[in-house]
Symmetry: C2
Subunit: 429 residues, 2 copies
């Protein structure tokens, strides 16, 4: 992508009410724009990060045999009356009346709808288990939207739902999602800690959240510090159940609090095994060898549009964002400081084409801007690897390769540039 | 994908109020489910078709240097008051009041928002031209939602927006989108006709719609029949302006009506060059070499979620859907009629794996169902190529390859199966 044709409206300052580092950097790097309170546009640079996350989420869900679908954003109040959540959900539910005076709502979550779907089509135990997911916009009318996309009203969520024949199989499915989440966040470069959580208004009695520990986080979790180095991906159900880490709400209820430490954190995922709560209220049952059985259900959410902000909280410096490789909107940022020099520009064009041909995401700053602006924009948007074609190109036929994270710089001869860059992309974590 | 783990809830009958063939087939093939009036879930099979369309739309827009972004579904009424459309838009706009009594709305289109975005960031003519697109859910509170996803209230649209320095450049951009749309629909296997259209409430004076001619279509277009064989992809602006094809509304206004024929059709795309209508009302201007200039704008829509229904209207028979290759949820449908025969099942598993390894989309019907059910489901969901492993497998070590469109069948020895299938996928239009 050429910078001249890719719209990155970087700003020197963000609005004065911006309190969180990621919010500030996302606004200033032209990733997002606030349209109204708690509602954002994802500008081209921001959308690329979102897309990387979505692609990875889809890849891992598909790999695990979870069927992708798409439920609508607008729901009828009817199904929420069946579960009795229409009246109890409160003001965070955005309620809407259509032209025919019918009560609709903007879905804050989809347990009711997926249960109605299951009830219509799943008639026999032979049709179980079933696992579905969708990636869809949700709306929760937060009383105090803040911190940009971290606590927005309109946001993008991946929510998955499972139907099993009984609690034992339901627990197995829950355990699969637990591990899938750890693998997913690991591959995204976001080290999360699973913590036991109360089920809240979703219901049920088994629930975990997945938190990123950062001092700027809004949440508080409590855990045995030896868990910080733990690899949870191979956990079995009994280990999951006995995990010594808790959300603040859950922590209040436990007794022996001796060896816990408190951490501030950001919640990025939440899974629930709520059993038959919704299937019962919808009178959803299936034929089995032992007569009618009520399917055992769970739901599994990831706050997709919150992840870019969380990654930035984790990794930035005074000059801007430092993207982890998996989330970076581009892998390489090529900076041409001699736009008016035809030899330098030809070299950059050629390198840009060659890198593109290898399917490596590259952004090429071909703008007619002064070096200071190009450097500050590059540091602000935070691509892990910067390639600088400047003075030493003309003097020594050399370019510089610079790591955004630690500013480590090497100079290399232009003849070896392509090979070296390809090698570095393999190891520039 | 194995049928046993891919949820395709086929039905024998659809609800009695279903009047259109595509609606009936999409319900019965388990592609969509109505959640409430004019609001649908895309079930896994339907979602795959949608995804193929979205991937192709993204590919061609990206190729043409149009920046992908994502504007939110919910908009503030403020920006619609600036353009004066808040009061005039009428009851199709879903109006919402949030918990703080602020007037919001579910975006039916995004001219206002993109203009506000342009105004904030684009300050100089050096920053023009700019082209953006997003693929986002829209809502129009139709008085009479009908025909399934063909005229739904909640639907998915690709809308693009352009900013140019003047009308001449604006027309050039309009012309680019015109050709892009023809290329896109061509690659999707949907032959559309461009027709001149009035600009309606969007404004401006240059507008075309892209229609698929089918007798079941809701729209009427009028055209010189020699256009039916025309390739429009290389048209220049003056040819676009002189095209002898019109929407019914536009047709009313023209004088010489001698040589036109009327066709029923489905509208799939709509482009507008509305000039400075929104930039003027937003006081959006940029610095240029000749002082302040008001940017010249256009918008370009495609009804993404209507395309699967349109394709089905174009191509089906009494047994079900016949997908064009580009939209088919899978390329090959492997049907095992001898699930209990270990040799046959082993062969099918091996073939399934080999086809998968070649990145060919395959669905393998490994269900424990009788042959009649497997055949009728296969015809209903309409994958272009069916591979049948039945009686002749055991008798003669042969399988059958059947084209869904015309039922042409060939028997081949199992040893040659893979090569033959790969060859046929290359040419099974």
């Amino acid at each position: 992508m050429k910078f001249s044709n890719f719209f990155i409206p970087t700003l020197k300052e963000s609005p004065s009410d911006v309190k969180m580092r990621s919010h500030d950097l996302m606004i200033r790097s032209g990733m997002i724009r606030q349209e109204t309170s708690g509602i954002y546009s994802w500008m081209p640079l921001g959308y690329r990060v979102l897309k990387k996350i979505i692609d990875k989420v889809e890849e891992l869900h598909d790999e695990n045999g979870i069927n992708q679908m798409l439920m609508p954003t607008i729901q009828s109040s009817d199904i929420w009356r069946i579960s009795n959540r229409y009246d109890t959900y409160g003001k965070e539910m955005l309620r809407i009346i259509d032209r025919n005076d019918k009560d609709l709502l903007y879905g804050p979550t989809n347990e009711e709808m997926i249960t109605a779907i299951g009830k219509q089509y799943i008639k026999s135990y032979k049709n179980l288990p079933r696992k579905f997911y969708h990636i869809q916009t949700k709306f929760r009318d937060e009383i105090r939207p803040r911190f940009g996309v971290m606590r927005a009203r309109e946001f993008i969520m991946k929510d998955a739902y499972s139907f099993d024949i009984d609690s034992e199989n339901g627990e197995k499915t829950y355990c699969e999602f637990f591990k899938l989440y750890l693998k997913l966040f690991n591959q995204l470069g976001i080290p999360v800690i699973p913590v036991r959580a109360p089920s809240g208004e979703i219901g049920g009695n088994l629930s975990h959240e997945f938190h990123l520990i950062v001092s700027s986080g809004e949440s508080e979790i409590f855990l045995d510090t030896k868990l910080l180095d733990q690899n949870f991906e191979n956990f079995e159900l009994n280990q999951i159940l006995n995990l010594d880490s808790y959300t603040d709400d859950y922590y209040k209820e436990i007794e022996n609090k001796n060896y816990f430490e408190k951490f501030r954190s950001i919640e990025l995922g939440h899974i629930f095994l709520f059993g038959t709560k919704y299937s019962s209220s919808f009178n959803f049952n299936v034929d089995s060898e032992n007569g009618k059985v009520v399917p055992y259900m769970g739901s599994y959410g990831i706050g997709i549009s919150r992840i870019p902000a969380a990654a930035i909280e984790l990794s930035n410096d005074k000059n801007g964002i430092i993207w982890p490789k998996a989330l970076s909107p581009f892998s390489v940022h090529l900076i041409n400081l001699n736009i008016d020099d035809s030899e330098c520009s030809e070299f950059c064009e050629k390198l840009y084409t060659e890198i593109n041909e290898r399917n490596i995401d590259i952004i090429y700053d071909d703008r007619n801007e002064r070096p200071g602006k190009k450097f500050s924009d590059a540091d602000l948007i935070g691509i892990p690897l910067q390639i600088i074609c400047g003075n030493s190109f003309k003097k020594n036929r050399e370019i510089s390769i610079l790591k955004r994270a630690n500013k480590d710089t090497i100079n290399i001869e232009v003849e070896n540039a392509l090979d070296k860059i390809i090698k570095m992309i393999g190891c520039n974590e």
